[in-house]
Symmetry: C2
Subunit: 239 residues, 2 copies
């Protein structure tokens, strides 16, 4: 389902991408990692629980309850709690570190590399993720993601949805907010970007939470663009 | 002239590159820009004077005399002074902005793209420049530089040679300082990196200041590696 609203896309210079769920398939990658370790646990439930701990942890940093903490460290804090819940406390420190590193080794959706490569021919493409720079760099190398630039909450020392992150892209590239288009599979991320004056492109990703969980991918006409995947986004942007 | 000291290179994970002079030829690019504008000025002297204003401007930020100021803005301050000296005050605001943007459009040395591409096959390659992120991103797109990650003084809010910049690379990638190798055409940059525990690779670039100015490219055995250019660095690192 394609869609372009009346705002149009002329003047867009930078495409800023959410990464977890939008560009890479965290659910499948975490499930596969858990299976490869032969853990006695439901991979689907474990992956969903790990991801569900993410926003509450981010909010603790945003509220000041926690000092600035990287996503790597937040993932690890959530993991240590989960290992209690899932009765996996026998995992060694080395195994925990390795498992936590799965977020550096997430696989791309099948369309991501081709879509990004085509979009890069006409636009500057950058990450705009809460993931730390090292995580995003390692992931790009693992998944062959051809970013022009890795921007992260770590650069701004604020997490999305803080406006400083969205507006930071325009500041970094010395352009106006409406010359930046935020690309994400999450309507709330896009709504915050829109409040800062960015254009927005929604990517459906109906399987983000795995095959067992429905995701609402209905059209929101407030977005500049709505595309099934990154290949279709490249089509819409004539790349 | 190749060289490898006793420290060796085993365990190196990230190569962090100085950019101006090491990866791109600022002198020739600025001279060509000045010529293309048909300015009544000696391009060589103009380029050298602009670059000579760089370290004094950086020092003003490091000392606190100036608040944090991007390289784009420092380049512009130096340029406005130079236009007085070279009697070019008739340039319009639009012409000044365009001329200042030449630092986003510097051309690579002939070996840079091939050398970096080979090095990227085995190492994470990142910039470690005082240039701002937007400048380095635009330059990478202009010159087809295949960085895994663009790191800049802007990320750390400190300029080289502040130790926070060199140590910041290790922190970003969660590795030890001696797992990072600083690559630069400037012995002082490398000396500061070494003091922070990084390995160092010197690149000769005898023409950095143009064909009329000699540059000392003699061997300093304190560096881990000494290479003529980035192709030879790739040879030394078996890439």
């Amino acid at each position: 389902m394609e869609h372009m609203n009346r705002q149009g896309t002329a003047g867009t210079k930078v495409l800023a991408f959410d990464v977890f769920g939008t560009v890479v398939d965290w659910h499948k990658s975490v499930v596969q990692e858990v299976r490869s370790m032969n853990l006695d646990v439901d991979g689907n439930q474990f992956a969903l629980a790990w991801r569900a701990g993410y926003m509450p942890a981010i909010r603790k940093v945003m509220s000041g309850e926690l000092d600035w903490t990287s996503i790597d460290d937040l993932h690890r804090m959530i993991l240590d709690d989960l290992l209690q819940v899932f009765r996996l406390t026998h995992l060694t420190e080395k195994e925990r570190r390795s498992l936590n590193g799965v977020w550096h080794r997430l696989d791309p959706w099948p369309d991501s590399v081709e879509g990004l490569t085509r979009l890069k021919s006409r636009y500057t493409i950058c990450t705009l993720s809460n993931g730390n720079i090292g995580l995003l760099s390692n992931m790009a190398k693992h998944a062959s993601l051809p970013w022009d630039c890795i921007l992260s909450a770590e650069v701004f020392r604020k997490y999305k949805p803080d406006p400083a992150v969205y507006l930071g892209v325009a500041r970094i590239f010395d352009i106006e907010p409406d010359e930046v288009m935020m690309v994400a599979a999450h309507q709330d991320d896009l709504a915050h970007a829109r409040e800062c004056g960015l254009r927005t492109a929604y990517i459906e990703r109906p399987m983000e939470y795995g095959p067992l969980q429905q995701k609402d991918i209905s059209l929101n006409a407030d977005n500049t663009l709505h595309a099934r995947d990154l290949r279709e986004l490249a089509d819409l942007l004539s790349c």
